[in-house]
Assembly symmetry: C2
Homo-oligomer: 107 residues x 2
DNA sequence: CACAGAGTTCGATATTTGTCGTACAATGAC
DNA sequence: GTCATTGTACGACAAATATCGAACTCTGTG
């Protein structure tokens, strides 16, 4: 059995360009930007801990987009899913990108 | 009369976050990434000088998205439109973002 | 076991987006 | 002025996206 998370992380890895486009697309939504920003400041957090103005299913959708683009990863912890910003992986492939985005947002 | 270019550049300027989302969205398409990358390397270029695998109207659409997000600006020169990457404006508002994106792409 | 909590998955739907072809506008060349 | 060049504007249309509600899975707890 292949874990969902594994497949998700690999989903868009063909050429460097495609992956970059996927990451940028994942970040180009206000709600997802907010998720990334809060994950950056608050460390690991469960999906429900964001107080987002959307329903559970929409929330789930946004986390999936971020997961499949490789921006975050999710692990199960008891009843909840803990989300983590994949700082190292992002920094490795796109040096400076995450910080540029996070810094711009809080201007 | 308000020039088209002026309106375009101002189109998405409300909050910092919204503008960032617009810029990221503009960059999250392979063709537009290629346009930006070529503009970065080759300096100013006319729309037709990109040899893109799309029709004129689609091409026009992509340049408009980039223009409205503030990523490029366009000026008329004879029969053609010359496109310029708005390096300074981008660097001013989102320090390091453009370079992070351009560097990642050529990995 | 039954039940509540936390997310995911599955349609459904409205909006946005990428693409095209055709028509149009502006400019330089004849 | 007429024509070719360069790009824009305008529908049209298919695919992707954001959103929702309802049904489902998994986990811990009574």
């Amino acid at each position: 059995m292949i874990a969902e998370t594994e497949r998700a992380e690999v989903a868009s890895c063909e050429t460097g360009q495609l992956e970059l486009a996927a990451v940028l697309h994942a970040m180009s939504d206000p709600i997802r930007l907010r998720i990334v920003s809060e994950l950056n400041e608050g460390g690991e957090r469960a999906c429900g801990a964001f107080n987002l103005p959307i329903t559970k299913s929409t929330c789930s959708h946004h986390f999936r987009v971020l997961r499949e683009a490789g921006v975050i990863s999710t692990r199960v912890a008891g009843k909840s899913r803990i989300n983590v910003l994949r700082r190292e992986a992002l920094e490795d492939r796109f040096p400076g990108l995450l910080d540029a985005i996070l810094h711009a947002r809080s201007d």
